[in-house]
Amino acid sequence: MTYDVAVIGAGVTGAMTARYLSAYRLKTIMIEKLNDVAMGTTKANSAIVHAGFDAKPGTLKAKLNVKGTAMMPQTCRDLNVPYKNNGSLVVAFSDEEMKTVRELYDRGIANSVQNLTIIGQEELRKIEPNISPEAVGALRAASAGIVCPYELTIASTENAIANGVELIRNAGVESIEDLGEEFVLHTAAGEVHAKYIVNAAGCFADQIARMLGDDSFELVMRAGEYYVLDRCEGGTVHHTIFETPTKMGKGILVTPTVDGNLLIGPTAATVTDRDDLATTEEGLAKVRAHTSKNVPRVTVRNAITSFSGLRAHPTSDDFIIDISKANPRLVNAAGIESPGLSSAPAIAEYTAWKLFEAMGGEPEKNPDFTPLRKAPVRFRHMSAEERAELVKKDPAYGRIICRCETVTEGEIRDAIRAPGGARDVDGVKRRTRAGMGRCQGGFCGSKVVEILARELGKELNEITKFGDGSVILYEKTK
């Protein structure tokens, strides 16, 4: 069978684009290299929705950021993904930095960002009392927000699949043949035939493009390291707190997450290995040092984990979303670094319309399309009455598996059975938060392994942390 469209890469860009395409009468397949969606840049970034004053006016980044940020609240409502419009502050520590803040304000106005204000020390202290007393003022952006990037991607994937899109995993694309009318994609999971390709392969998008002779862009890997802090630190700040940007980058931010934790980071180091997700002593030390300067009250004593994420920096410094000059049936959606998450709904739309251009026009609409994704059960957010009702209907919701985050067996089962559902322990964690709390799966990890084995019809030692060789258990004891 030949698909109309193969979307390579199931990160936020690929998943949201596939979802957009599912509103049309197109046979679309998402091809993912790893065991789950949202495994690359998507799962390890700042999880924020930028207002849009960073990007240079006139760039694709500027245009899609402002549009994507405006689309995000409705997108999250449709997909039942938590989103919070918490606003952001770029904090200045000197008159010199205040100058930069004013430049950002002007750039924001040029980019049509709404609700920007410059505030002084007094106002800053009033709205964020835990910011360093050394701070002299800030740029306040009321339209900024926070969202969970992997939840957004998982929800988009579920919705896309519900609307007819297919997903194959563990299907790294090894080579692509162009037969003229269609492509043959040789993947680790077999051949896929498709008329058009959307290249949303994240850190590997340049390699995919080169398979079809497109060497028009280059990606450089930048690693960013972060700490996630326990919920007891989650209320330290309400806004997303940025440092004033310098030539060295946007700096280290401090932000609450939609799940109530505090996230601090990232660093920005250029790396060559595209799978290198190791944190470093220097990187984490830098995160600690900057954070204690900006928000002195934050302490990593309450860290629950640290991680590193890679973002694909395009040497052109702008998103690369266009029909390939090398192949008219290939649409690249590459170089999606920050503000890629903020822009994601707009990137999906823009990419889809580039594809339609390549196809010669807008396809017929899918009459059965629904943009709505049913909310998964979230026991921890329910009232006593709702809980009582739920457990009466289905006792699986009466067994708590993860103590720290109050996640039930029923929710884990649902996450595995969902369209494009969890296949490994980390997949369950991202969908349900089981193991995401302060004990980091110490108690529930082994129970999650059991439930996965039971639901997937596997042995305990066939269950992995995140696919491939990430086995948790070896052979049975004697």
């Binding site: 980091q440 030692n461 049975k476």
Partner: protein, 419 residues
């Protein structure tokens, strides 16, 4: 809403002993709420021996020790609900729990005993440990469950970080199962475990213990492939140039236990910043009248035998509260930590108590040939010589009844180490 005289949260050794003691004292309607499928708590996976030497005067395995109490609970009038998770305890002692059979339960309790135990510090609690995040990094307790309960090998070439008792026990356990335990690293200049465990679990199997050494990085993308270890200075910072790569597929962490006090703080009960358990009086009653705490949720114990004794105190206190409606003319003073003492449980005592009061405490460093001194109002009440005081071992001193009767609201009670 259902009504119980006593709700015990947790059916491990602490919860069972507290419930049984309360019953013995005459409390009629008692229920234990246990989140696991069975009673026994963490003892069920501790299949090694060494339990019960103090309390039963014989050497039992964990399941055997728990089994003795499970049998007594089964014969008693104490009700048990397993697979039941307590979600919330309100200030007016309404306990909300959930399980598959009953759904959402709301129980009005006259008194509550908190006995939720503790959890292990995970990797994330080591903010300076860098590197990749592959499979194969786990806490020693999780590994213990995999090997002892599920019957699978969680690793073959193992490095253990932390020489607490669980780490030591797992070093032996994995060796006996055929794994290669390469070393145990301990960031402190001394082990946090019991001496008998160092001898029986490491020395007897020629497993090296590297003191003042920590794991600074993990390597490997999918499964762990190795770790970097380094010596640390007296401030516990890695010393440059002492890095060493050790090939292994598993890093087991035994880097401390944290009392599970989410329900406690949810009920508005203050915690001791050192023990990270509730502050209690000599009856193990928290700052919230009628709510008691005992076992590892109150302070991390070294021996389960002491958990049992502490739980019996809490059970007796709860019974008194239920049957007499409180503690009448109690007058409290704080206990004071003197030199070398990290914490004391109980944090406050009723000097109108007619019975002697045991003060349990831990020291903050290793003190060879030292004395434990108890002072009341500046007078030395007792001074006991110890061959070795170490943070891994819980110590105890007793305030005699006659000393208590001579005390008043301005009195001071201090425990200190004399070197």
């Amino acid at each position: 809403m259902i009504q119980y005289d006593l709700v015990v949260v947790g059916g491990g050794p602490a919860g069972m002993a507290a419930a049984l003691k309360a019953e013995e004292c005459g409390v009629k309607k008692i229920v234990i709420l246990e989140r696991a499928e069975t009673l026994g708590g963490i003892l069920e996976q501790c299949i090694h021996t060494g339990f019960g030497l103090q309390y039963f005067k014989e050497e039992l395995s964990g399941p055997e020790y728990a089994g003795r109490f499970i049998e007594l609970v089964e014969k008693s009038t104490v009700e048990v609900k397993t697979d039941t998770m307590v979600l919330d305890i309100s200030e007016d002692k309404v306990v909300t729990a959930v399980n598959k059979a009953d759904g959402l339960l709301q129980i009005k309790a006259t008194a509550v005993v908190l006995a939720m135990g503790c959890r292990e510090r995970p990797r994330g609690a080591l903010p300076a440990l860098v590197g990749t995040r592959p499979a194969g990094v786990m806490t020693a307790g999780t590994a213990q469950k995999y090997v002892n309960i599920d019957g699978y090998m969680p690793g073959k070439k193992i490095v253990i970080l932390g020489s607490g008792d669980i780490g030591l026990i797992m070093a032996r356990r994995m060796t006996l199962e055929g794994a290669e335990v390469k070393m145990v690293c301990e960031i402190m200049p001394y082990s946090g475990g019991l001496t008998r465990n160092i001898v029986q679990c490491l020395n007897d199997f020629d497993i090296p213990l590297y003191l003042s050494t920590t794991v600074v990085a993990t390597h490997g993308k999918e499964r762990l492939e190795g770790v970097t270890i380094a010596k640390v200075d007296e401030k516990m910072n890695p010393i440059p140039g002492t890095d060493q790569y050790v090939e292994c597929d598993t890093l087991m962490l035994s880097v401390g236990l944290i009392p599970e006090n989410e329900l406690t703080t949810g009920a508005g009960i203050p915690l001791d910043p050192v023990t990270r358990g509730a502050t209690v009086n000599e009856k193990r009653e928290t700052a919230h009248s009628g709510i008691f705490a005992c076992g590892n949720v109150l302070q991390v114990h070294d021996l389960v035998d002491f958990v049992t004794l502490e739980a019996q105190i809490a059970g007796e206190g709860a019974a008194e509260y239920i049957l007499r409606g409180g503690f009448g003319a109690a007058q409290y003073i704080d206990t004071t930590k003197g030199f070398g003492v990290r914490y004391i449980v109980p944090q406050k005592i009723n000097f109108n108590s007619k019975k002697p009061i045991d003060l349990y405490f831990r020291v903050g460093a290793v003190y060879p040939n030292a004395k434990v001194v108890l002072e009341v109002d500046g007078n030395i009440i007792s001074s006991k010589k110890k061959i070795k005081l170490a943070p891994g071992k819980m110590e105890c001193v007793t305030i005699p009844a006659d000393v208590l009767s001579g005390m008043n609201a301005d009195s001071s009670v201090t425990v200190r180490v004399e070197v």
